[in-house]
Symmetry: C2
Subunit: 468 residues, 2 copies
Amino acid sequence: MSDTPSVRDAVTNGADRFVAELVEWLRIPSISGDPENADDVRRSAEWLAQNLRDTGFPTVEVWQTPGLPAVFAEWPSDDDDAPTVVVYGHHDVQPVTPLELWEHPPFEPTLTSTPTGPRLHARGAADDKGQVFFHTLGVRAHLEATGRSSPAVNLKLLVEGEEESGSPNFAALLAEHRDRLRCDVVVVSDTGMWSRETPSTCTGMRGMTDGQIDFRGPGGDIHSGSFGGAVRNPLTEMSRVLAALHDDDGHVTVDGFYDGVVELTDTERALFATLPYDESSWLANAKSTTAYGETGFTTLERVWARPTAEVNGIWGGYTGAGHKTIVPSEAHAKVSFRLVAGQDPLDIQAKFRDWLARTVPEGIDWAMHYYGPGVRPCLTPLGHPALEAVTRAMATAFDTEVLYTREGGSGPEADLQDVLEAPVVFLGVSLPDDGWHAPNEKVEIPLLLKGAEAAAHLWSDLAITLRA
Amino acid sequence: MSDTPSVRDAVTNGADRFVAELVEWLRIPSISGDPENADDVRRSAEWLAQNLRDTGFPTVEVWQTPGLPAVFAEWPSDDDDAPTVVVYGHHDVQPVTPLELWEHPPFEPTLTSTPTGPRLHARGAADDKGQVFFHTLGVRAHLEATGRSSPAVNLKLLVEGEEESGSPNFAALLAEHRDRLRCDVVVVSDTGMWSRETPSTCTGMRGMTDGQIDFRGPGGDIHSGSFGGAVRNPLTEMSRVLAALHDDDGHVTVDGFYDGVVELTDTERALFATLPYDESSWLANAKSTTAYGETGFTTLERVWARPTAEVNGIWGGYTGAGHKTIVPSEAHAKVSFRLVAGQDPLDIQAKFRDWLARTVPEGIDWAMHYYGPGVRPCLTPLGHPALEAVTRAMATAFDTEVLYTREGGSGPEADLQDVLEAPVVFLGVSLPDDGWHAPNEKVEIPLLLKGAEAAAHLWSDLAITLRA
């Protein structure tokens, strides 16, 4: 076996090809949230499917949905009693506005060098193409280092195309293909780590539901001199409604919003408190100078374990150069709610609609449109064997202890857990400053390589752990 | 004198030329609020200057300002003791967004026929090019009907180019040309009448100041999953500030906002109450279903005699198709305040800035930019001889009684009154449904002709009234 490389050597040897191919994939602007990019998302799926065939997956299929396609790939183990793993990620990306704030064009991937190694700048570099793609390098390294011709686990990849649009068709897709997706554990690669120095794995994610509020007052824009002060101004009323969404303590005021919320235990709060948290670093990543949120919780508790209401966009009236003194006809806002264990997105949608019905005054016609059914929150039990296997695999890859975190963002993990009836664990290597959903998204290439290493170790570990 | 036509016949004979030339002028998109149209405003001034020369004014000049130019024209009377009149109007127009709501292109003037005569559709048809332009027909009719070769008054026209931008350079322009603008009365043609059946003249106008509020929270857009709930969201904070601008009774909450306000007298409230006011018609003109405003005042009192705060536009965050779950970096709003006698725009600007300083929370960087010094409010004393002359001239033109109103909109009338030290009266014929500042602005041609008739009578009347 002297000609069998270590996992690390195998990953290192494959790094150049890995980066070159990832760059090619990142050139495809697979923005699922903008209908104009629908063909790009389809092209992204076909590109990935072909790449997975070239990697060696014997079965690769593009799965159509009523919306945008997912990619499924399967590489069975030669071992009859091998456990089965589904790896989840997504190939669609966030929009890129405001484009003028990007230092490198979002779909012309650019490599720069840093003291800790190369960095790749592109939309999707971290969220989530880079983290999906390290699995191609990971499985090759796993085979090379073990001398196997098939993985030690039955390896299935499911790479969604609508994650950044709230995964509206994902639960149905899972249900449709439930038999082919049957597995012992789901490994999600769509999250980050605490920091470069403190690798970590995630134990829970927030859910999410979002939508658009439309207000109409006057049937058309009217002169603020002739009519101002004597009719409802939809912008003022929208402001009032959005202002009323939180009380002075930062609690969301929607009736019943906190019903059933799984509160943090003292143990979890203590566990969070052991992390090397530095508020000034967190603020730097948040591009902010001041922390602010729900009274009675720390910053980490607020973003990991508390539900929120956020305004993502507002527009209405005259917004061009100079001024135009009107009472405008319309006001619009995009709002999103992050949810935690115990909350259901459809229930929150109904409660917010009821709250609007009670809050919007006479004289304003309103409509609330939700972007799909939303995403349910997810919690992974501490101590689960698969979670411990991920912890070991990452510790071997990073040569250091691995801690536990949660993730404030949202993905279809709860659907995976519920529909596939399997535990969900997280193998993600992105950093807090990678710029997810923002201009200037980037990823650290050395960390993607560590992700590939960890995956290579994980398949060997799970083959033992889950068989035992 | 049997070959001397009546004023009415002279106006009728000149109507076709009048409409054809007005259409030509309205084709020039003289939007002063948008820097891209600055050359169009200059072209509009040159067009008007040439037309006034063709009309017969011996002196016509384009007056430059640090911004956009005004037009000045002078036609001295042959009578040595003739009183002097300055007619005020403006040749700039409002922006035209949202363009898709216009039934006829705003700068392709379109004539349609109605049971009460032709109607002209164009931006500026009523506000204010149509009402400036009826003075060309008026002075010709005045000369034809009186057989004079010069007007019975020393007639001066001052037609501004920045009225829709808050007249930032107008007071300075008046001061600079104070000697040449010396007069006994100012006639403003930039207002409307109660209705087609109830002609009226205005006794006061609201003042105005407006500007833009800019909020910045995070240094860039950030992921609402990773950071939401733990930093200030500038859209939420902007909503809170704008919501706090009024209390539950519709009073403006800016400290000291009502200091010095000239309250309505019982007599004025009774006078307003004699007008044939129908709330459902008013609401139809306001394109609204429900009246709403400051507690304790009628709709007319609210729009004519009460100061207001209005939000004219808001924008920030993601406003494109689909969704993008961010905490945005920026929020912006355009706000305007309508002011009444006793309030000063610069004082209100300072008070609102102070209020913002007390209201905007830590974590939000903010700036308040005002669009110039604002416009002061104006009130004309009932019973003034010039006001009575306007009333008689309009009554003769319209063959009916003329009532008194106020105007909720704003113009530089207070500057005219204060700098020129002359009383201001109003000769305007626009209707409440003419769509000022809104899509689908139009004007009724028969009413513009009545305006020309009234002007022709007014010069003869003032020559006697003000000499007496």
